[in-house]
């Protein structure tokens, strides 16, 4: 058979790795045919909503639901008293703590769930909520973790023994009733010694404020208990559907095979949809109680005030160096505000996530990290908002410490970074706090970035601007923000990463159909990342069938193989690897079938793009399409019919994407208004699967970074009232505030990932936040500024300018 198509064309036809393939998801989304959880409608479906606490700390004296039950359309009102006989008034958290599902005698944060009203529709539910009478007795409120550690006010009486002693928690001894854990990494004494004896030491305290992932779609679910068949179906905004199934089974006692969890289309997650929330539990109970499907959807205030805050780390650092700027040691202490319950979403053994990546991209010989978790009267959560576990905090810390050290040394911050980077030949590199970085070429990336923005030229322009400002010729300062980040993603190896005892592997199952198309199911779930597009590309390159002929399905626990879901940029590093490995199993069987069809030995054929060819005789071949058909219609001795494979992939290591970002910003010192003139982002995520999607992820991550750095926060007053509970106060940038970004890349494949990919979705957020923040701080460096806390909104920037005497 003569092959008319060139090899190059055959590669192109696959739309495999490296192709900016258009997204297969977009047809339904652009035509309003997405299927999000709130679009689900079932016969007789009811609607549940929460009566929430107006107080941050109060004892509940009574709850009267009688009037509410009289409201037309209201069918049931659940309180802790109703859940207690089922053992469901509290639930385990992902962090080894427990959390009230409905207020059990007291409330610990404003907005806490007190009663669940179940009604025929949302309006009736709202009427019912109005009619629930709750009598509260206010208690002293603790919103400052440092105060909480000194206070006699006990937030969690359930965690204090009858004799007043403080039993150990899930992560070891506790120092105070409001203390949750102390977590350490590295060497304490040696680090302190190095710092005491150092030529130069820079110190800084910084607060990484509390914020929220705030996806455009809030959290929600529909629970439907089929009492006839004993099956519970739970649709919801779950970033980890299998984990939710296991959790629901463990806490409800319903056997896992009788629970089907489905994540339909998800309107953004960014970490918000990882945890298990009281709404899920109450919906399930309400469906069991009423015998009808029950829907629960947060409104925006519920979302911002209660589910899944991020950050809230008070960090104190010391960094030591030689006079020439070679870093010798790093010391970091964190006071972590976890709110009323420790519901942080971290792997079990890491109560402060991967904060111990805080030595960053630098060859720091000695380091020590200590984190104290603290209870306060704030909402629980502590999710990784567009980052791997606490990596944004770690990278912000080190990228600020580098700048502070540069000021102390009177050195250029770009040069200080350069002389301290881990060198290419040092990889795999074991950091002082324990992680083994897989691969990197930081100097090349840094030089490329600085050259692209004409760094020298920018500094000259900035110096001139300072002169002009001092001479009264301008009221605008210029900031050059730098950041070089190393992420740690792809959690993770089962040996050290689990959530509630579930190893953090992931999975892919492939079925090739007789006519040469396929379906692949994964344990992950896309929330906008385009998995249906990119995972098909990985497979196309592995198995030689066009991506357009491969359906990707995720999110249904009855059909997908078990996996730990999508967050922490783990989909490509873990499930992507499983996809490639399952593809290779398909290919191995296809090789045997091809050899049989071509009447040669298995070893005499080799894979070539979309076919197996006889070695040395490329005109003799069988295409994967032909092989697929043969798998179903030929009786091949010693080979089972069919062409299917499954792979569960336990990654040998994390992956370590990195990048170099530069932001150029003008700041009006009289108004505090910032104008981002330029943003250059170089990302190295290893092998690039779909450049179009990578760039889209970078744009989006940078915009979320801009939000956090320049204004977005969950702020509380002294009474524990949330001051930023609507989009009026909680900053989400619009098209008007956002600049155009320049994207660039280098490619340093991961040596341990089957296709060398590292993951990219979160890098721009992790690297972006310090870059925006450093730009603001850098603008004021010439006037004596060392550090100011985020968010750098106009008011805070104006205050900085004022305090530096720039308004005099």
């Amino acid at each position: 058979m003569k092959d008319e198509v060139t090899r190059e064309e055959r590669v192109e036809n696959l739309k495999g790795l490296g192709c900016s393939r258009k997204r297969v998801e977009d047809a339904r989304f652009t035509q309003g045919k997405g299927n999000y959880v709130d679009d689900i409608k079932l016969d007789g479906m009811l609607f549940g909503d929460f009566v929430r606490s107006p107080y941050a700390h109060a004892r509940i004296k009574s709850i009267d639901t009688a009037a509410a039950l009289e409201v037309p359309g209201v069918l049931a009102v659940l309180t802790a008293a109703d859940l207690e006989p089922l053992g469901l008034h509290w639930m385990p958290t992902l962090a080894g703590d427990k959390q009230m599902v409905l207020a059990d005698g007291k409330v610990l944060f404003q907005g806490q769930e007190v009663a669940f009203v179940v009604a025929e529709d949302r309006y009736a539910a709202a009427d019912g909520m109005e009619a629930v009478e709750v009598e509260y007795e206010e208690l002293p409120v603790l919103v400052d973790p440092f105060e909480a550690l000194k206070s006699d006010v006990v937030l969690r009486e359930d965690l204090v023994a009858e004799d007043g002693s403080i039993p150990a928690g899930a992560h070891g001894p506790r120092k105070h009733a409001n203390h949750i854990f102390t977590w350490e990494a590295g060497d304490k004494e040696p680090t302190e010694q190095v710092i005491v004896n150092a030529e130069v030491v820079a110190e800084e305290s910084m607060y990484y404020h509390r914020t929220h992932p705030c996806p455009l779609e809030t959290c929600g679910c529909v629970a439907s208990m089929d009492k006839v068949n004993g099956k519970l179906t739970l649709w919801g905004t779950f970033q980890a559907p299998h984990a939710i199934r296991t959790v629901v089974s463990l806490i409800s006692g319903i056997e896992e095979h009788n629970i089907r969890v489905i994540s339909p289309d998800i309107g953004g997650g960014f970490g918000n949809k990882v945890g298990a929330y009281p709404g899920y539990v109450c919906s399930v109970v309400a469906s069991i109680v009423t015998g009808k499907p029950v829907k629960w959807i947060e409104d925006r205030m519920d979302n911002l005030m209660t589910t899944a805050f991020a950050r809230d780390y008070h960090m104190t650092g010391k960094i030591s160096a030689t006079k020439e700027g070679k870093i010798t040691g790093l010391h970091c202490h964190v006071t972590a505000d976890h709110g009323g319950f420790d519901a942080c979403a971290d792997p079990t053994k890491f109560p402060a996530g991967f904060m111990n990546i805080c030595t960053g991209s630098y060859d720091i010989p000695t380091a020590y990290l200590e984190v104290d978790g603290v209870y306060t009267n704030k909402a629980p959560g502590g999710v990784s908002y567009r980052c791997s576990f606490r990596v944004t905090e770690a990278v912000y810390f080190i990228e600020r410490m580098i700048e502070v050290l540069a000021i102390k040394l009177d050195m250029d911050a770009a040069e200080l970074r350069r002389i301290n980077f881990i060198r290419k030949e040092q990889f795999p590199y074991t950091a002082a706090l324990g992680w083994e970085y897989d691969s990197g070429d930081y100097h090349t990336a840094w030089d490329k970035a600085l050259k692209a923005v004409d760094y020298e030229g920018l500094r000259a322009e900035q110096a001139q601007r300072v002169e002009d400002f001092k001479a009264g010729k301008t009221r605008k300062l210029m900031g050059i923000g730098l950041s070089f980040f190393t992420e740690i993603v792809g959690a993770g190896p089962v040996k050290n990463c689990d959530i509630l005892g579930l190893g953090m592997f992931d999975s892919c199952e492939i079925r090739i159909h007789p006519t040469g198309s396929a379906i692949a199911r994964l344990g992950t779930i896309s929330q906008g990342q385009g998995h249906a597009t990119t995972f098909a590309q990985i497979l196309a390159s592995e198995i030689g069938l066009p991506a357009d002929s491969i359906t990707i399905e995720e999110g249904d626990t009855d059909t997908a193989p078990y996996g730990l879901g999508t967050y922490g940029s783990r989909s490509t590093p873990v499930a992507g690897a499983a996809t490639a490995m399952a593809g290779r199993k398909i290919r191995a069987k296809a090789q045997m079938i091809a050899a049989y069809l071509l009447e040669v030995h298995d070893d005499d054929v080799e894979f070539d793009v979309d076919r197996f060819v006889v070695k040395g005789a490329p005109e003799k071949f069988k295409t994967m399409k032909e092989i697929a058909f043969a798998a179903y219609n030929q009786a091949i001795p010693g080979i089972e019919p069919g062409l299917e494979a499954v792979s569960y992939y336990d990654p040998p290591n994390m992956t370590y994407p990195f990048g170099a970002y530069v932001c150029v910003m003008d700041i009006d010192v009289d108004t505090g208004v910032t104008d981002i003139r330029r943003f250059y982002a170089l990302d190295d995520c290893g092998t690039r699967i779909n450049p179009m999607i990578i760039e889209g992820q970078v744009h989006g991550g940078l915009t979320e970074a801009l939000a956090v750095a320049l204004g977005q926060e969950i702020a509380y007053d002294d009474m524990g009232n949330v001051k930023t509970g609507t989009l009026m106060d909680f900053f989400l940038p619009t098209a008007w505030e956002v600049p155009n970004y320049e994207t660039d890349y280098t490619v340093t494949p991961s040596p341990h990932h089957p296709i060398g990919a590292k993951g990219v979705g979160e890098s721009p957020h992790v690297g972006g936040v310090p870059c925006f923040s450093n730009a603001v701080q850098d603008a004021f460096r010439a006037f004596g500024n060392t550090h100011t806390n985020m968010p750098h909104d106009h008011w805070r920037i104006w205050k900085t300018a004022n305090e530096l005497g720039l308004h005099d």
Binding site: T30, D127, L702, L732, A735
Partner: protein, 164 residues
């Protein structure tokens, strides 16, 4: 509960008539009563634009308008803008230029963009940014949304010129 009102709407060219409480929000009418689930709820305070529809030729956030206020009006949602056989150039352009990720803001975004381009067929980047500032996207950083709208504008203008 107060007395129900008699409301008539024309939604995507179809006449609808029903009784509703005065407090019923238009987004609720569309999504729950009429099963038109393209427009989404993101904030319920007019900030995010996920619920954007066109009412009598104007872009409106349907989460803060009562159905009763829309009585007698013509309403167009994403479902009325284009379907599999007659895609609007904006729908094509958003896919072509990666102007969406999770898709939740997309129906509102495209619906708003149709009006923007009607009002201003040749917008500058700045005019697009200003004209779309009522619609929040959490995923894309807007860069590719701007590109998509520019591409659709060019396509629509070329088609118009060809027709003339």
């Amino acid at each position: 509960m107060s007395k129900k009102m008699h409301i008539k709407l024309k939604v995507n060219g179809k006449d609808e008539e029903f009784l509703a409480e005065p407090r019923e929000l238009l987004i609720y009418t569309l999504r729950e009563r009429l099963n038109i689930t393209g427009p989404h709820i993101g904030c319920e305070t007019s900030h995010c634009g996920a619920c954007t529809v066109t009412i009598n030729g104007k872009s409106v956030k349907s989460c803060t308008m009562f159905a009763a206020q829309a009585d007698g009006a013509e309403v167009t949602t994403i479902e009325g803008i284009g379907g599999p056989d007659d895609l609007h150039p904006l729908q094509t352009a958003f896919k072509e230029h990666h102007g969406l990720q999770c898709g939740y803001c997309t129906p509102g975004m495209i619906t708003r963009a149709t009006k923007l381009l009607e009002e201003n067929p040749n917008p500058t980047e700045e005019e697009i940014r200003f004209g779309m500032a009522g619609n929040i996207c959490r995923c894309t950083g807007y860069q590719n949304i701007i590109k998509s709208i520019q591409a659709a504008a060019a396509e629509m203008n070329a088609a118009k010129e060809a027709a003339e």
